[in-house]
Structure formats: structure tokens, C-alpha cells
Symmetry: C2
Subunit: 336 residues, 2 copies
DNA sequence: CGTGGTAACTTAATCGATTTCGAAAATTAC
DNA sequence: GTAATTTTCGAAATCGATTAAGTTACCACG
């Protein structure tokens, strides 16, 4: 490997001079600097990120905390899109991405220790159990963090507009003439709480009274539980005219159940999903859903984190709300 | 941060002694070593991976090269599962995962340079254009690499058994009585070539003559193109009785097209997918497909790479074939 | 008692890059 | 022509950990 020393030898200058020239310091003559840069190019010099990190205490490396418990981690398109987007944005600012986990090779460390061990300049936290003490320790540590879809006091977060999204969805459905709207929700996370709250508030704003049985619990990303919830709804004396699912993928379970019972979409019942993943747009009829802008979420999270890292003085905790967009499909029919 | 020096001061020994004690060298008395370890624990000492990397020339960091060109990267469940699995296995051996890309923050580097810059001990290459000169440069460099679903001469690779998988699928369908089997294949990659070759060979072994029109080109992970291919098949004078799709997700396009034309699965036509992603198992009727063992692929790739890294002498290039498994769903009906 | 051996540490160099401080050389000022 | 600046560069310390080589001190053996 070509090092700064090799260049110094060839150019007959000191290592200090090479370093300065390569970093554009002003106390190196233009001529010398040009020489050195030329030599560096010719010799195929690459800075050694490790040495730089050690000396400067900055790794230009961002940790990401994505936990894949079968369903909600990378397996979920929403999160894999966020990850991809975080990566792309981070790269623009010269940062690489490393996964943070516990128990790296025998040494059992918690998230914070792992991030420290790797000298991460910051960590993006998503798709985890935010009540996990290890996560809380990390977030409250000296390492800058940005959380996704969850807010810790006095910390930066990027949030999908679950409240606005759900409101828009309900209003859209209402506008189509639906009055008996059911909502199958995911497990009790802050996301679910927001959507559920928004659902209730919007309904009441619209003057709708939603019977308790129209609110059915299920699990995110789990068609089976959504299928069961769907069945419970179909068994009601007064069936809803529209069902909102926890997410697009879960809707598959509802779709199956409806098919099985001979209830067709949207003639007999209307449905809507949430997320706007690719699948929702290739199904026929196309699923009406609320698209979460995963690309923007990842981008903004990366930007926010880089800002904390690079301008820690000016920084103040900030929550960035990312709006989504209603994707009108063909699964909500108009009722006169 | 607690460093080795802090411990040395507190224990009244030299830094060398601390280092040796912590690494279990034999020339430190049991008593001293115990003292030092105790102090390290109490002080919350964490080794600094960066310093270690710089000194030892080993980063315990593995690069992964996954390119997400809209469809085939992380967006594909197959690859995100592989990634997750690589990560888990690598962690067991004490390695972290970093994404490798080009153009990291202004500096434009190719994959090799990036991996060098970050001192990656090795790189896992998947889901890329294997004819890309930058990829070839990386693979032929001094950095150990393991490729997935592609073989470079004298290099280690982990392969999904596309030949065996396709053969099994065809034989299964044949066993169900089908003689007019169509195959919609993905774009021309080595994977497609293998599947296509295996399809032809197996058919001929079974004494089947497949008309050219039964082989239809499409694109992986693209329901639209598969939908069009499906339509072309349906327009044939003599329709196939069974259609094999390039992958499960693409099948959605076929499903839509069949639905539209009033052709029902599996009564009027049989279908099968490939991959065995979650989606295939939640659709109703459940999709008959060939499950690629992504978890094993990732695991074996990580193992192979770690072996090259840690035992470079004993290592010889090796191709590991990962068998899959037929998932019998309800989309292939029996024909008498 | 002297020599050799060993256990237990320490010293100091090293990995590659950055940066402070100082020094020499060149330029300007008077 | 001398003093004061400025320009340009180098020496050396530093980041945290590892390790080869050297140094004690102690013990054993002939």
C-alpha cells in the first residue's frame, strides 16, 4: 500500500508536507502542492481511513441499528428502503454505514459499546424496541443518534406523518361515501398509537361514531393475524363498508379471507393499506394505500445525523416530519 | 474514553503489560493479569478497534457489495435475507459489516479502493453486474472475496442450486401430469442461463418437446413484464397447462393477467414461482415454488470468507452449492 | 560462587496520518 | 543594509494498541 511516507520520499519532502498538501493547507507553496498531488495520483495513493480515524477521533462511519426480528427488520420493504436511502445520503457526505449489533464475536457488548468500539460518529436507530434499555443507553450516550419513527426527549428524530396519513386516508374513504369504517391496527407501538389516535379523532371530526368492534388488533406485516381480524369483522351483524389494514403486506391476509368468503373487492367491501410498498401497486385491483416516503425518511435521517456530527454547536434537537402521499388505487369504491 | 494507558497508570504497570494481560499472553503472572482484567472491567474499558486495526492490519470488518438498482438489490427479499444472514454469521466470528460503494463523499473511488480505504478484511459480492470492470478488479485484487450466485475462476463462491432447483420443479410439474410447460425467464444473467439450461435438459430427459413460444423472456422482480409474457402465452393456439415464473414476486403480474382473462388458478392453468419468499406463502392459493435457502447462502458465504481471511494458507477456492427445497403449494393441479 | 536459565516486566518502535511549534529562507519595510 | 515579516517547510508528538527485544530479579545447578 502506498502511504504518505512513500510520497514524501519520492518528492523529497517530509510527511507533514505531504499531509498538508493533500489536505490543502495554505502553508504549502502551490508548486510543491501540485507536485505532491501529482505524485499521489501517479502512485495510486489512498488515504488510510483507519489511521485518520485514530488520529482525528472521527471515523466517517455511521452505525445503523436495525433489528430483524423475523418481520419488522430488513425483511420489511419500508425498512430496507430506508436503509438504502440512508446509505446513499450518507455516502454523499463521505460516510460509510456499519451495522451495530450486540455480541460481536464472543465479546458481548451492548449497542453503545459496539458503536464506541467501532468509533462510529453517530448512529441511526430504526425498527427496534425503543424501550430496550440498551437502546435507551445508546440514545442517551455521547454518541449522536437520530431515531426513526420514535421520539426521545431532546433528541433528533425523523418521523413519518402517521397522524396526517391516517387522517388523509380516513377523509378520503369518508369522501367516497363510507361511514362504517373499520381499522385493523398493528401491535402497540408508538406508530400504532398515533394512527389509532388519528383514526379516532378524524372520525369524530367527521361526525362518525365507530363501534368498538370496528377496531381490531393484529400484528404488523402478518397476513395471518390480519386475516383473522378480517374474519371477525365479517362476522359482525353490521359489517363495515371499508377496512383499513395495518400495512400493505398484512392486507394479503385480508384479501385471502375476503376471497374465501366470496366477498369481492371493491364491489362488496372496500379496503385500504398503509406503506405503499411495491406490492400494493402491482396487485389488481391496485390497492389504495398511504405511501410512506421511505426514501425521504432515510435521507433526512442521514442529513440530520451528519449535521449533528459536523456542527455540534449549532445543533438543536429537531423532529422532522415526513409527509406521505395517498396512492389512490381501485380498492375503495364510491358509495352513494 | 478509557484506554490501555489509563489502566496501566491505575495498575502501576506499563501499557505493554496491560495489553498482554488483556490478550492472555503467557509472560504475565496470573496475579497481575487478574488485577488488570479486574481494573479493566471496573473502568469500563473497551478496546479501540481502530487502533487495533492500524497496528495489526486486520480490521475485523467485512465489506458487502449489494447494488440496488431499483429492483434487484436490497429491495428483493432474497437479497435482504442473505444480507441479514451474512451479518449474523459474520458477527459470530467477530466481524462487522460495512457497505462498499463507489464515490464516497466526493472522493471517487472504485469498489476496490473503497474496500482498501476502509481496511476491509474481505468482501462479499452479490447482486451486482459481474461484468462490471470495477467488480472484476475487486475480485482479482489482494482482498479476499466471495461471490454469490456467480463464479470467477479460482475464487470462492456460494451458489444457489439453480440447476437442481429448476430440474426439481419441472419434474414435479411433470409428475402432476403436465406436458405443456411454459417458462418465463428473467434477464440474461448466469442465473437465468442455468435455469434455462436446466429447464431444457430436464424437459428433454423427460421426453418433452417444448415449443419455442413456451419460452418467454421477462425481467426479474417485475410483475409487469411477467404479465405481458403471460398474455403472450395465453394468446397461443395451444396454451401451456403450466407456467413457471422467474420469481415469486413476478408471478403477481401473471396472477393479475390470468385473473383479468378469467383464467383461474389452478383449475384452468397451473403456475409455479421461484424463491419461496414470504409472499408466496401467504397468497391463496398458496404458490408452489422452489425455495432458495437465502439464510444458508448468507451463512456459507460469511463462513467461507472468514476462512479465507483467517487461514489464507490452507485455503483453496471452493464453490459451495446450496440446495433449495420445493414448496408445494396449491397452484399446480393434477392432470389425469 | 559464578553461570545459565527463566519468569515477569518494561522500553521503544510501529502502524499511517495529522498538527503544533519552531526554524530557515525569502521578502518587504524603513 | 538591517530589522521585521511572511512564506514555506520540517521535527516531533500524538491517536491507542501491539510486540520484538531488552532488562531485571530470582532460582538452580555444578
Amino acid at each position: 500500500m502506498v502511504t504518505i511516507t512513500d510520497i514524501a520520499v519520492r518528492c523529497n519532502v517530509s510527511r507533514a508536507t505531504v499531509s498538508k498538501a493533500l489536505n490543502g493547507h495554505s502553508d504549502i507553496s502551490a508548486e510543491t502542492a501540485a507536485n505532491i498531488r501529482q505524485a499521489a495520483r501517479e502512485m495510486g495513493y489512498l488515504p488510510n481511513a483507519t489511521a485518520r480515524t485514530l488520529k482525528l477521533g472521527r471515523s466517517h462511519n455511521i452505525g445503523v441499528l436495525f433489528v430483524d426480528k423475523t418481520s419488522s427488520g430488513l425483511g420489511h420493504e419500508y425498512f430496507s428502503q430506508i436503509l438504502e436511502s440512508v446509505k446513499q445520503e450518507a455516502e454523499k457526505s463521505g460516510y460509510d454505514i456499519t451495522f451495530i449489533s450486540r455480541d460481536i464475536g464472543g465479546l458481548s457488548m451492548d449497542y453503545y459499546e459496539h458503536a464506541k468500539y467501532r468509533n462510529c460518529d453517530g448512529v441511526i436507530v430504526a425498527s427496534v424496541d425503543f424501550t430496550d434499555p440498551a437502546v435507551i443507553k445508546l440514545v442517551n450516550s455521547d454518541i449522536p443518534t437520530v431515531t426513526l419513527d420514535y421520539v426521545f426527549d431532546s433528541h433528533s428524530a425523523v418521523l413519518s406523518d402517521n397522524v396526517g396519513g391516517m387522517a388523509e386516508l380516513v377523509r378520503y374513504v369518508y369522501g367516497k361515501g363510507h361511514r362504517r369504517i373499520a381499522f385493523i391496527h398493528g401491535e402497540f407501538t408508538s406508530v400504532t398509537q398515533k394512527r389509532l389516535g388519528s383514526f379516532h379523532r378524524t372520525c369524530s371530526e367527521l361526525g362518525l361514531t365507530i363501534p368498538d368492534e370496528y377496531i381490531q388488533p393484529a400484528t404488523f406485516h402478518d397476513p395471518k393475524s390480519s386475516g383473522l381480524a378480517t374474519r371477525r369483522l365479517l362476522e359482525l351483524k353490521e359489517r363495515p363498508t371499508c377496512i383499513l389494514y395495518p400495512d400493505d403486506f398484512s392486507f394479503i391476509g385480508g384479501m385471502n379471507e375476503l376471497e374465501k368468503q366470496g366477498v369481492s373487492i371493491p364491489e362488496d367491501i372496500s379496503v385500504a393499506g398503509y406503506d405503499g410498498i411495491l406490492l400494493s401497486q402491482v396487485l389488481r385491483p391496485r390497492l389504495t394505500t398511504y405511501r410512506q416516503d421511505a426514501e425521504a425518511m432515510g435521507r433526512e435521517a442521514a442529513r440530520a445525523l451528519v449535521e449533528i456530527i459536523e456542527r455540534p454547536k449549532e445543533w438543536i434537537p429537531r423532529q422532522t416530519m415526513i409527509p406521505g402521499r395517498l396512492l389512490e388505487g381501485d380498492t375503495v369504491r364510491t358509495i352513494e
